[in-house]
Symmetry: C2
Amino acid sequence: MSQSSSDIVTAGLLVIGDEILSGRTKDKNIGFIAEYLTAIGIDLKEVRVVADEEAEIVAALNALRSRYTYVFTTGGIGPTHDDITADSVAKAFGVPIDIDPRVVAIFKERAPHLELNEARLRMARIPAGADLVENSVSNAPGFMIGNVIVMAGVPAIMQAMIDSVSGRLRTGRKMLSETVLANAREGDIGGPLGEIAKAHPDAMIGSYPFFDGKGPNTNIVVRSREPQTLAAAKAAVEAMLVKVNGAR
Amino acid sequence: MSQSSSDIVTAGLLVIGDEILSGRTKDKNIGFIAEYLTAIGIDLKEVRVVADEEAEIVAALNALRSRYTYVFTTGGIGPTHDDITADSVAKAFGVPIDIDPRVVAIFKERAPHLELNEARLRMARIPAGADLVENSVSNAPGFMIGNVIVMAGVPAIMQAMIDSVSGRLRTGRKMLSETVLANAREGDIGGPLGEIAKAHPDAMIGSYPFFDGKGPNTNIVVRSREPQTLAAAKAAVEAMLVKVNGAR
């Protein structure tokens, strides 16, 4: 059974930061966001990582926001000179950006002891027309403008922000997934697995090799939005494995 | 002192795999490759993660290979139906692809006990004109065609492949880096740090907040290919921190 396109909500992710590209910081957000979106019924279709350079951010953002239902960004919304995400997003949308009195009010209420200096006011710069994404961890909010959700790069703050914003998002039918441990080398099951993939075109079947304690092994992951499609493909995989493994 | 452009060698990275986008597998290759390339004098400028879909792979590969000195890919070169990277690379380059006798010879020599079935022969499909990237961990090689290096997705195999190929690559002057622990909140140093960044335009200065045991703290990372430029910017950051922290 094919799925109607209205069931499907897609997303792109734009990770912004020199420190990811230099390897100094190991990204922890891509995996978290991928798993989070899958769980709520949004298909992550593409990720890009770019440097803290306005032209790069604008080009990537415009490419992604025209293709997917939503675009999430991480990084570059702090108080220092290298935090240029908010200004870059405003430029991509062609809207003005200025210090937002809503953010200033949050700072005054939640952190009256911290000086509202130029650096902190930089975190209050929000593109015109954006909704704030407040969160429990950081006083400085993220924001949502059009289909773009702008979040912090620090994992704990990003995670609070995505929790805060997810209720506002349209979600599709959830992708269901089953993993079958093959107890076989990929090279021994690739042929029959390909036949199963052809016979079950509405299921997505992935094969993921890994080394277990004894040698090469394989996880087979079957995915579909339809429980019956999923069950049929999984059963076919299991029957094939019984046959292949029994023959050895 | 500005750096001549011939000192700079750039790279893009294309991570290929549904399992990364679904969150089932947490990528471990981006951080490794980023750090590896930085260490040998290649600047990683952009990363993309795309699904196991030919059109997506071809489009991303063509975008990246025209922009950067090298493009590295990970994933999708195994023996199963969802491994479509080699064919997609051949399509992007507009060259034929077929079973490569060099790979068949490797299989026969290194794994004479394994049946050379249709699935394993799939791993021998190499685009015309490519050089093999043999490695110690896997019998199935990666390959290099033009400026594109195609590697496995399994981290241990990818790491063996990048070690195997790196000696063939042109490298630039290494980016030098120093990290200064600020012992200050980002919001308290953003102003003076921005002044330092303006006064040292040839150094790259990044500010990375994190939570230590006591609360918000900040790492300041200064980068340059010129030792003197690096030292001057680092000294300015340290002097600023003495002033800011002493005033509290």
